[in-house]
């Protein structure tokens, strides 16, 4: 017993928190909590406001009451929206477009990244930089020429692409493929050269090296790229606004705006409900894949 007491006496007299964390670090941590809290408030206010508004009736929204409180909560907006065929069509279109775009993007960008990072061929380095530069061109510059191209294509071949939801399957990959390829190039580059050499000596073809070694090893990066492609195609607004007009061809973000704003009448309750419901799928995907996503963003910085 005495020895225990003696150890206690020998312990440091200052107030130790989190082991031997230094004073500097404690302060750094306080500041980071301060700014994180600030940032959390900043980014959470809009969705909270949307949630509050979506639970109100139109009458309450336009009434001059405290906008931050729901006096007569109702799920009427949700019921109406979820039972409307139109909204479900938008949702279905969005889901189809996103799933197809993610699939197309991955099928193109993973082999492309593998080729650019591993199969050294003439111009591969330039091409890799080129892929990245493509991503830097703003989307807004491209929608007019793309529209014109699809119109001309329709005139020549008789295949009508404009005002069909599947035109987005051609358009979105122009945004997602360059960036996903770039992410995957970085990932594949962090895999040691000896690993594919070992695979090649073991008798693997290039394709087997990609599917049996590179894809499993770079899985976090692959998931990061998938999430990116999904988010881009799910949240895209300008392109679907331009390329699709008929109600049955619209995707969610455009559909909400065009069908719930009638002239100068804004159906705020349903707009907010629709936006919230539309934001749900990416949220759910993020929540499930968050660990992978973080690992994906930070790997390569250290030796994976």
């Amino acid at each position: 017993m005495t020895s225990v007491v003696m150890i206690d006496k020998a312990a440091p007299t200052r107030n130790v928190k989190y082991g031997s964390m230094s004073r500097d670090r404690t302060w750094a941590l306080r500041w980071s909590y301060f700014f994180l809290t600030l940032f959390a408030i900043f980014s959470l206010v809009p969705p909270i406001y949307m949630l509050i508004t979506s639970l109100k009736t139109s009458a309450e929204i336009s009434a001059a009451t405290n906008p931050w409180w729901v006096f007569h909560p109702t799920l009427q907006n949700y019921v109406e929206l979820l039972s409307s065929n139109q909204f479900l069509t938008f949702f279905r279109n969005s889901a189809l477009v996103s799933i197809f775009v993610v699939t197309i993007t991955m099928l193109i960008s993973v082999p492309a990244a593998f080729a650019l990072s591993r199969m050294r061929f003439w111009g591969s380095a330039t091409l890799a930089t080129g892929v990245f530069l493509t991503y830097l061109i703003p989307d807004t510059l491209l929608f007019l020429p793309l529209f014109k191209m699809f119109a001309v294509f329709g005139d020549w071949t008789g295949i009508q692409l404009i005002n069909r939801w599947y035109v987005l399957l051609i358009v979105y990959p122009t945004l997602t493929v360059p960036f996903c390829t770039w992410i995957m190039i970085g990932y594949f580059a962090s895999i040691p050269k000896e690993l594919d050499e070992a695979a090649i000596i073991d008798g693997a073809s290039w394709f087997q090296t990609l599917t049996r070694i590179f894809i499993p090893v770079a899985l976090p990066g692959l998931i990061a790229a998938t999430i990116f492609a999904f988010t881009v195609s799910w949240a895209q607004f300008l392109y679907p606004l331009v390329f699709t007009t008929s109600t049955d061809q619209l995707v969610l973000p455009v559909g909400i705006i065009t069908s719930l704003i009638k002239g100068d009448v804004f159906n705020w309750g349903q707009i907010m409900t629709g936006a919230l419901l539309g934001a749900a799928p990416p949220l759910i995907i993020y929540a499930f894949l968050m660990d992978y996503y973080i690992a994906g963003l930070t790997a390569g910085a250290t030796k994976g």
Partner: protein, 366 residues
């Protein structure tokens, strides 16, 4: 039959010639070590045998077939890399069986081969672990296991022990030798460590600047080096080189190191060096173990001289001594009880029966 033959093999990277036309015959079942300083072209040579690098010119033959344009997977070789290169997402068993699975071997055959290799390498207990759960030495065993299960014509090792600590390196060295004694596969092993080269090899190939300096058994290289590079590279501490002159004195050939130090040559040596021009720039090459403390009983060919010691390094079983001859530092190995003290003079003996005479300009051992 899996002999490996290199004929005038050249590797050029744009304007740099990494390998400058080497000829090498490796017999079936032989363990050959390529050794040399970094950048000497040894790894490039190995990678060309593996097929990971194209050859610019010349021919490489494995088992009598020219394999210049044969892809690595069809050369029937296995390679062990310095950083192990294990597939991180696979277990030890999966790592080892990857090559066999790609070739669609029957499951039972794969299992028996993996079990056998794991037993040989003493990694049976680790068979279900992932590489990140293994220590460096264990990983290297798995990498060797992956090579063994393939039962290839040729094993290629690219500095496999460089990432291990000194103690483990010695252990794994013995392990590699044991494995080779069991499986008797033709092996080409690259290292920059001359001790590894000496201990493992049936024959050592010393490379420098993209060329082969000398090929020979470890003992050949140690006792009869062909060039100054080989003489200096093999052996630790390295061989001493002291500028010297050949001269006649009283009808006998003698070698003069300084105004005060000159040794008559033993008869066998004198006969050998008779034809050497007297005014050539020459070097005396003598290994540290042939400079010892003078013993009371004189032996033929062993000459004594006095030196003031600069530095002494007690190693336990012996003491390394350093002194200067004409400004040139010379190392010797004396008995720990010889009374060597830094700054003090000591009577030393040099065994000229084991001397080498080199042409300083050409670097050739005469």
């Amino acid at each position: 039959m899996a002999d490996v033959t290199l004929r005038k093999v050249i590797k050029r990277y744009e304007d740099v010639e990494a390998v400058r036309g080497i000829d090498l015959d490796i017999a079936d079942k032989e363990f050959v070590v390529l050794v040399g300083p970094s950048g000497c072209g040894k790894s490039t040579t190995l990678r060309m045998i593996a097929g990971l690098e194209d050859i610019t010119d010349g021919d490489i033959m494995i088992g009598g077939d020219v394999v210049n344009d044969v892809p690595p997977k069809d050369r029937d070789i296995a390679m062990v890399f310095q950083n192990y290169a294990l597939y991180p997402h696979m277990t030890v068993a999966e790592n080892m069986s990857f090559g066999l699975r790609l070739k669609h071997y029957p499951k039972a055959e794969i299992k028996s081969r993996v079990t056998e290799a794991a037993r040989m390498l003493d990694i049976t207990d680790l068979i279900d672990r992932k590489p990140k759960q293994l220590s460096g030495g264990q990983r290297q065993r798995v990498a060797m296991g992956r090579a063994i299960v393939r039962n290839p014509k040729v094993f290629l090792f690219d500095e496999p022990l460089s990432n291990l600590d000194a103690k483990l390196r010695v252990q794994m060295r013995i392990e590699i030798k044991k494995v080779h004694q069991k499986v008797r596969t033709t092996t080409v092993y690259v290292t920059h460590d001359q001790v590894e080269a000496m201990t493992l090899a049936d024959r050592v190939v010393v490379m420098n600047h993209g060329r082969i300096e000398q090929i020979g058994t470890p003992n050949d290289l140690y006792h009869s080096p062909a060039t100054r590079f080989v003489a200096g590279f093999i052996g630790s501490p390295a061989m001493n080189f002291v500028p010297c002159k050949l001269e006649e004195a009283g009808g006998r050939l003698q070698i003069r190191l300084s105004d005060v130090i000159a040794f008559p040559l033993p008869a066998a040596r004198a006969a050998r060096y008779q034809a050497v021009a007297r005014n050539d720039k020459l070097l005396l090459g003598i290994r540290p173990e042939h400079i010892t403390d003078a013993r009371s009983h004189p032996q033929p060919g062993v000459e004594t001289f006095d030196a003031v010691l600069d530095v002494i390094e007690p190693m336990g079983m012996e003491t390394l001594i350093y002194f200067l001859i004409e400004g040139q530092e010379v190392c010797g190995r004396v008995n720990p009880n010889a009374g060597a003290r830094a700054g003090a003079p000591l009577r030393l003996a040099v065994d000229l029966n084991n001397m080498h005479l080199l042409n300083e300009v050409t670097g050739v051992v005469l």
